[in-house]
């Protein structure tokens, strides 16, 4: 082997080593939470990372602790409902932008981009006031509508991208066969873009599931809380005395997000780059 060849090989090895170390450091907090969730009751925080005695009962304990199962149910309902609303509306809008040229198209697309930039944080107080006036605080429809709306801008861009990649000739053929435009959309276009639509649905699900600050403001009654807000309450109640239970709650909340991300990472990464840079 030439000297240059050797140098490249060594360099590759070093880079791999650096990346491997960084990756392990980056997932260490997850590992730490999982390990803590397997400690014996009352021994949540100790100096060693891997438990000396393994205890698998914390998840069952968690199931009976406070209203945790109810929180998880609420999270599921709100996150699924919000995703569904987002996908229904964003796929129609994305299709419109992908297939039609109409007056104001450019402006409306810029509007969608601007909506993506509007921070949710500064909308918390007016939304809270509006919801309270409409007697909608602590309800599923409120949270579903908010999640649904916040997912729309990015999802329009993602769906538009999918529709752009489908050849128009299929729809033209359907139109010649006498299908109505809406019929073409539902019978021809949607089935082809089903994988993309499902990915968009699940990406939105993860965002909604993880959301903490919106439900913190909008859902304050105990039986309506979402798991993330429940975790915040648990942190106050359990940290320092029953950390193993708190850790189990962390693991339950992080698992769906991690699993879905690993399964759909291609779509996640693509969607993120498009949302931020392409615009």
């Amino acid at each position: 082997m030439t000297i240059a060849g050797k140098r490249i090989k060594v360099q590759g090895l070093v880079i791999n080593l650096v990346l491997l170390t960084t990756s392990l450091i980056f997932i260490f907090p997850v590992f730490y939470a999982v390990m803590t969730s397997f400690r014996e009751p009352g021994y949540g925080l100790t100096r060693e990372i891997i438990p000396k005695v393994w205890f698998f009962g914390n998840y069952e304990r968690l199931f009976h602790y406070g209203r945790f199962p109810r929180y998880v149910l609420n999270s599921t309902i709100n996150a699924l409902g919000g995703s569904l609303l987002t996908c229904l509306t964003a796929s129609l809008a994305g299709y419109s932008f992908a297939r039609f040229r109409f007056r104001g198209r450019g402006f409306l697309m810029a509007f969608v981009l601007a909506m993506m930039m509007l921070p949710a944080l500064t909308n918390l107080i007016p939304l809270y006031k509006l919801a309270s006036d409409l007697k909608l605080l602590n309800t599923y429809p409120l949270m579903i509508t908010i999640f649904g709306a916040y997912g729309v801008p990015l999802s329009i861009w993602i769906m538009k991208g999918f529709f752009d990649s489908i050849p128009v000739s299929l729809e033209e053929a359907a139109a010649i066969d006498g299908a109505t435009p809406l019929g073409t959309f539902f019978r021809v276009v949607l089935p082809i873009s089903a994988p993309g639509l499902l990915a968009t649905f699940l990406i939105n699900f993860v965002f909604n599931w993880n959301n903490f600050i919106m439900p913190l403001f909008m859902l304050t009654r105990s039986e309506m809380k979402m798991a993330t807000v429940g975790l915040f309450d648990f942190q106050h109640a359990l940290e320092g005395n029953q950390d193993e239970l708190l850790a189990a709650a962390c693991v339950v909340i992080m698992t769906p997000a991690i699993v879905l991300f690993i399964a759909l990472r291609k779509y996640f990464l693509q969607g993120m780059v498009e949302g931020a840079v392409k615009g």
């Binding site: 880079i15 039609f100 500064t122 913190l216």
Partner: protein, 288 residues
């Protein structure tokens, strides 16, 4: 492309209705709320008084200062780290996909989950990182010191955002054609020269976009602060977002809180306009 008059607008209607009702309208409504005093659900119009109070409040300026400190360290660290990682990933490694997936996992965790875990890692006597790093700082419990608490939130936020920023930079790097480097190599440029004269000018636009994105994020960061410090010790990490949360949900000063939100909104707006500017220049570069 088909031409149609009403149809495309009909398809847009539901999505736009949602954005209007839940995003745009509340933003405008907050402008109105900020001109009122709201107590026990009763609103009294008081004009710009809330803004006067804000500008005269030392709590506001202190929280703005803390937000800027947080933003500065968060952006610098995240960008530097992400840059190095993007350059390494750009080598097209065999296991690149696996590393990328692992590094991205923090980004898909909820900020509250991340916060709970990071707080543990700095728990007094038991926290893994407290025991590792604490001795370097005279064995203080870092989370109980103002600088330490801020540092922990900066570290946790960097940990969470790094992969995303790295991906954006990587996407920028990958648009650079290989032959640019080959031409550079023929001219005899070294690695550092190649980076400075070839890579940097081409990814500068993406970098600017990322800086603005991170600035926006740092102003709106709240979840990690709530989970890790809740503004403490004392009020030493009470950034703007926490200040607003406290005024609204703890003291029920909704008018004042809305006015704070409006101030933050305008900071966002300025950054947003800068962001769109950078994106325009970038896409015009891409088209050229």
């Amino acid at each position: 492309m088909r031409q149609s008059r009403v149809y495309p607008y009909l398809l847009l209607a539901p999505a736009f209705f949602l954005m209007f009702a839940v995003t745009l309208y509340p933003t405008l409504y907050s402008l109105y709320l900020s001109l009122n005093k709201i107590e026990k659900g009763r609103m009294t119009f008081i004009g710009l008084k809330n803004f006067q109070t804000i500008l005269g409040s030392s709590d506001f300026w202190e929280s703005l200062r803390l937000t800027l400190i947080f933003g500065f360290f968060y952006i610098t660290l995240t960008l530097a780290f992400a840059f190095v990682m993007a350059l390494l990933f750009n080598r097209g490694l065999r296991f690149g996909g696996i590393y990328m997936t692992l590094i991205f996992i923090p980004w898909v965790l909820s900020d509250i989950v991340s916060g709970v875990v990071w707080r543990w890692m700095f728990y007094r006597d038991y926290g893994v990182l407290q025991n590792l790093i604490g001795p370097l700082f005279g064995d203080k419990t870092l989370i109980n010191t103002p600088a330490g608490a801020m540092g922990i939130v900066v570290a946790a936020s960097t940990w969470r955002a790094m992969a995303y920023v790295m991906l954006l930079l990587l996407a920028g790097l990958q648009t650079i054609p290989r032959d640019v480097y080959e031409a550079g190599a023929i001219d005899g440029s070294t690695g550092w020269q190649a980076f400075w004269h070839l890579t940097w000018p081409l990814i500068r636009p993406v970098t600017l976009v990322v800086i603005v994105l991170l600035s926006i994020e740092s102003i709106n960061a709240i979840g990690m602060f709530l989970a890790i410090t809740e503004g403490g010790p004392g009020r030493s990490t009470e950034v703007l977002s926490l200040h607003m949360w406290r005024e609204a949900l703890q003291f029920f000063h909704f008018g004042y809180g809305a006015a704070l939100a409006v101030v933050m909104f305008f900071i966002n707006l300025v950054l947003g306009v800068v962001y769109l500017r950078f994106m325009q220049t970038e896409s015009s570069l891409g088209a050229a």
